[in-house]
């Protein structure tokens, strides 16, 4: 076991230890729980930083893996020993995400110790934060689908617990249930995908599966009679379903906006920075086995989600719901980017998004906290503390929070000098390259009648990216203008608002600082040159069969030279079914597939133009927001009234909740009620009828038993008693009486024998 892996496991274990210590000592710790949790996570952060430093600085090209047998199933006929292993996979993205998770978690711990101060379940809150952090570390560290699924469920479960932290109120109750059930749907489908791969390859390990797929798909890899290639597409999409639920992609995005019912630091940690990004991370992990069709579907789902959520965010009035829909939209961008083959860009955006979205959420939390304090014991306590229409001009009162919020907003809207620009620019370049190549792809099946070229839809993706950039800048700046600028709308409340304490502002400032470009690369305008993309994270090579990969007309020059030096895999497909460690280690040296190289080359061509368009759209969105909310404050509501139906369509989230209510929940409840009726009437009726019949039958049997059986027994007894009574008088005890009877009997016998038996007829 490698030292770095050991340290990573310790970093995972510390929050877990904190969880165990706090959860079992809730009463004793009470409001001192953060004194255990915060140092534990701080130490975990230090260890993660050490691991990341050693890994990225010293060994950026090595991938560490450590496995251990966990469950042995014995020997499978025709294969060999079957077992489940657990282990750790430590590559660059894992190291980076460890730092992201522990740092955001650490800052949220600090922030929460002030924000949750007066909460009645303070200790339990910190315990769950610790459990979540440990589970999240598990998700990113583990090297197989089985372990991943366990941690995946654990983060979902802690998310459920923390959304429902204030379970006395109806909102959090319903929201936590909704989050849990929606995630269950995706996870169940994801588990099918995992089992589909396990059934064929008899391993859960990512890299072993990739190595086996690379060796060639076996003909037995098939469900419902589909070809192995199609089955691989299906497997990829089944796995991706887990990400759809966890990363709140359409159609399972509905839980994330409702999850804002939880405490705001939780929203920052779980529902913005880390857990929802787990789906993106997972999609990047399984990217090597996504076929061309699967990539197209993944990117279309991502693109549609990004657009959908962005159009909803522009009309929301709740400060947290805007951020929630913004998160959904940004996650959609990342998924779209990964589907489009720009995996490194998607992961880059995941990291920068964690910084600026956590900053925005903590900023919103600071504002809400300040308003709550100002409301305390005054006539304004009826006001909704999260409604942006009650805010305004807060920059004067809360300068630290306000300026940090503005920095993060600059980052999310993709303006230069900030991290968001770099990652968003890369995503847009990748998506543009993909849209361009995919939509002009050549087909071998075009001759078929009624053939619809589904690849043409890819051309929409770059435009979706552009529109989302405009909308993102618009709704984020709308929020900034409504909350921090303009005239205060609730004057009496405004007067009492004060900046939050340092415990809360310092984490926000730190996160705002992390939004600057300097952490990710030296040149703010050239993301390609940044160390994140250049040195740390590369798009992993795909292992799919060549015929399932998209075939692009453009064959880059680089491909020809690469083909010459490209070494053939040493292991022939049929010779060894069990991947040796040698086979998995060749994965690191695996060259990218031709379509990946084509995308790479195209990305370089389009990047400069896309960069300019991205800045232009962001500025356009900013300007629009400034026009509508600063220059002409009344215009926005007038436009809203003019476009009434459209406005409501956006405000209600495309009526998706209502549609689900009618299309899914209502039929489900109807069926459930029907089943309940069947259970209540038919099943219970049958049971009751059986019971009644049994009682009736028992009565008959009882009567029979009492009067017939007992009667016979009693009759026998009575007869015997009667006979006894009759013959009792014979027993005189006088010997002479007996003798007289004997004599009489003999005489009688003699007479009978002589005159009856021996009488001649």
């Amino acid at each position: 076991m490698n030292d770095l892996i050991l340290i990573s496991l310790v970093a995972l274990g510390l929050p877990l230890v904190a969880f165990v210590l706090v959860i079992f000592n809730q009463k004793a710790l009470a409001d001192r729980a953060h004194l255990i949790s915060t140092p534990a996570i701080a130490f975990s952060l230090v260890l993660s930083l050490y691991v990341a430093w050693m890994k990225l600085k010293g060994l950026p090209l090595t991938t560490f893996e450590w496995s251990m047998d966990w469950i042995q199933f014995g020997t499978l006929p025709g294969y060999g020993p079957l077992k489940i292993t657990v282990g750790v996979l430590l590559d660059n993205i894992t190291a980076i995400l460890m730092v992201v998770v522990t740092s955001v978690s650490f800052l949220v711990h600090i922030f929460s110790s002030e924000y949750m101060k007066l909460d009645s379940r303070y200790a339990r809150y910190f315990a769950y934060l610790g459990l979540f952090t440990a589970a999240m570390m598990g998700v990113i560290l583990v090297n197989n689908f089985f372990g991943l699924y366990m941690c995946w469920e654990l983060v979902g479960f802690t998310s459920y617990l923390l959304i429902g932290h204030w379970y006395e109120q109806t909102g959090p109750q319903l929201a936590s249930k909704k989050a849990f059930i929606t995630n269950r749907i995706g996870d169940a489908v994801m588990w099918m995908g995992i089992l589909l791969l396990f059934t064929e390859f008899h391993t859960f390990n990512y890299r072993e599966i990739f190595a086996l797929i690379y060796q060639g798909l076996p003909i037995t890899f098939s469900i419902f009679g589909l070809s192995p290639e199609t089955t691989l597409t299906v497997a990829g999409l089944l796995l991706f379903s887990g990400a759809i639920a966890k990363s709140a992609q359409f159609p399972l995005h509905v839980w994330l906006p409702d999850a804002m019912e939880g405490p705001t630091p939780v929203s920052a940690l779980i529902h913005a920075a880390t857990m929802v990004a787990a789906g993106v991370y997972f999609t990047a992990r399984i990217f090597p086995l996504l076929t061309g069709d699967a990539m197209l579907i993944v990117s279309c789902i991502g693109g549609f989600t990004a657009l959908l959520a962005a159009t909803i965010a522009i009309t929301q009035t709740d400060i947290k719901r805007v951020l929630a829909y913004s998160t959904v939209s940004q996650l959609g961008l990342m998924i779209m980017s990964i589907g489009a083959g720009a995996v490194a860009a998607g992961l880059f955006h995941l990291v920068t998004h964690a910084a600026f979205k956590a900053c925005l959420f903590l900023g919103a939390g600071s504002v809400i906290h300040a308003i709550h304090r100002a409301q305390h014991g005054t006539a304004d306590s009826e006001l909704d503390a999260q409604d942006m229409r009650n805010m305004g001009g807060l920059l004067k009162k809360m300068p630290i929070t306000g300026w940090s919020f503005i920095v993060a907003t600059l980052a999310i809207s993709g303006l230069p000098l900030l991290a968001g620009f770099m990652s968003k620019d890369e995503i847009l370049a990748g998506v543009t390259a993909y849209g361009k190549l995919q939509s002009t792809m050549q087909h071998s099946v075009e001759s078929q009648p009624f053939y619809i070229d589904h690849n043409a839809i890819a051309i929409l993706l770059p435009f979706v990216g552009g529109i989302v950039t405009i909308l993102t800048a618009f709704y984020m700046w709308r929020q900034v203008f409504l909350v921090f600028f303009g005239v205060p709308r609730e004057v009496s409340l405004f007067e009492r608002i004060r900046e939050s304490s340092r415990v809360m502002t310092v984490p926000i400032v730190v996160l705002a600082a992390l939004c600057l470009w300097i952490w990710y690369g030296p040149n703010p305008l050239a993301p390609e040159s940044g160390w994140f993309l250049k040195k740390w994270v590369r798009t992993s090579a795909q292992v799919i069969p060549p015929q399932t990969a998209p075939t692009y007309a453009i064959v880059p020059q680089v491909l020809a030279t690469d083909d010459a030096t490209h070494e053939e895999p040493e292991v022939s497909p049929a010779s060894s079914p069990i991947p040796s460690s040698q086979t998995t280690s060749t994965l690191d040296r695996l060259p990218q597939m031709p379509h990946q190289l084509a995308l790479e080359a195209e990305r370089h061509t389009v990047a400069p133009i896309v960069g300019e368009v991205a800045i232009g759209s962001a500025l356009f969105g900013l300007l629009l927001a400034w026009l509508l909310y600063m220059l002409r404050p009344g215009v926005a509501s007038t436009i809203g009234r003019k476009l009434g139906p459209l406005y409501r369509f956006s405000l209600r989230g495309w009526y998706i909740d209502e549609i689900y209510e009618i299309a899914v929940v209502a039929p489900f409840l109807f069926v459930a009620r029907g089943l309940a009726w069947v259970d209540d009437r038919v099943v219970d009726g049958l049971v009751n009828a059986t019971a009644r019949t049994t009682v009736l039958l028992s009565r008959v049997v009882g009567w029979f038993d009492r009067y017939i059986v007992d009667g016979i027994v009693t009759l026998v007894g009575a007869t015997v008693q009667f006979l006894g009574l009759m013959t009792r008088s014979l027993q005189t005890g006088r010997i002479q009486t007996y003798l007289a009877w004997v004599v009489a009997s003999v005489v009688t016998l003699f007479v009978v024998i002589h005159y009856v038996v021996l009488a001649k007829p």
């Binding site: 027993q731 005189t732 005890g733 006088r734 010997i735 002479q736 007289a740 004599v743």
Partner: protein, 105 residues
């Protein structure tokens, strides 16, 4: 040729008379000793029958032999029975078979 030639029937009648007398004694007397004497009469009635049947139709001396066995047995029986009667007297100061009814209940 005698006036009353004595034949088998005479003996049988005599034995029957003796048997009935013995039985009557057993049934009517309360004294246990008297009952025993009734038994002796009955046994001897049987003995007469044995001897008579042998004398008038037997081939060998089986009847006489049996009679001797019966006499021996009667002696044994008398000894045992008198011992019982003696014990009965010692325990209950009576030899009446009517009073010796302890086994009744």
């Amino acid at each position: 040729m005698s006036l009353f030639p004595v034949g088998l029937y005479h003996f049988l009648i005599l034995a029957a008379v003796l048997f009935v007398l013995g039985l009557f004694t057993m049934l009517t007397r309360k004294n246990a000793i008297a009952v025993l004497m009734g038994i002796e009469l009955i046994l001897n009635a049987a003995n007469i029958n044995f001897v008579a049947f042998t004398r008038y139709g037997g081939v060998n001396l089986g009847g006489q032999m049996t009679a001797i066995f019966v006499i021996v047995m009667a002696a044994c029986e008398a000894a045992v029975a008198l011992a019982i009667v003696l014990n009965l007297y010692r325990r209950s100061q009576t030899v009446s078979v009517v009073d010796a009814n302890k086994l009744r209940d």
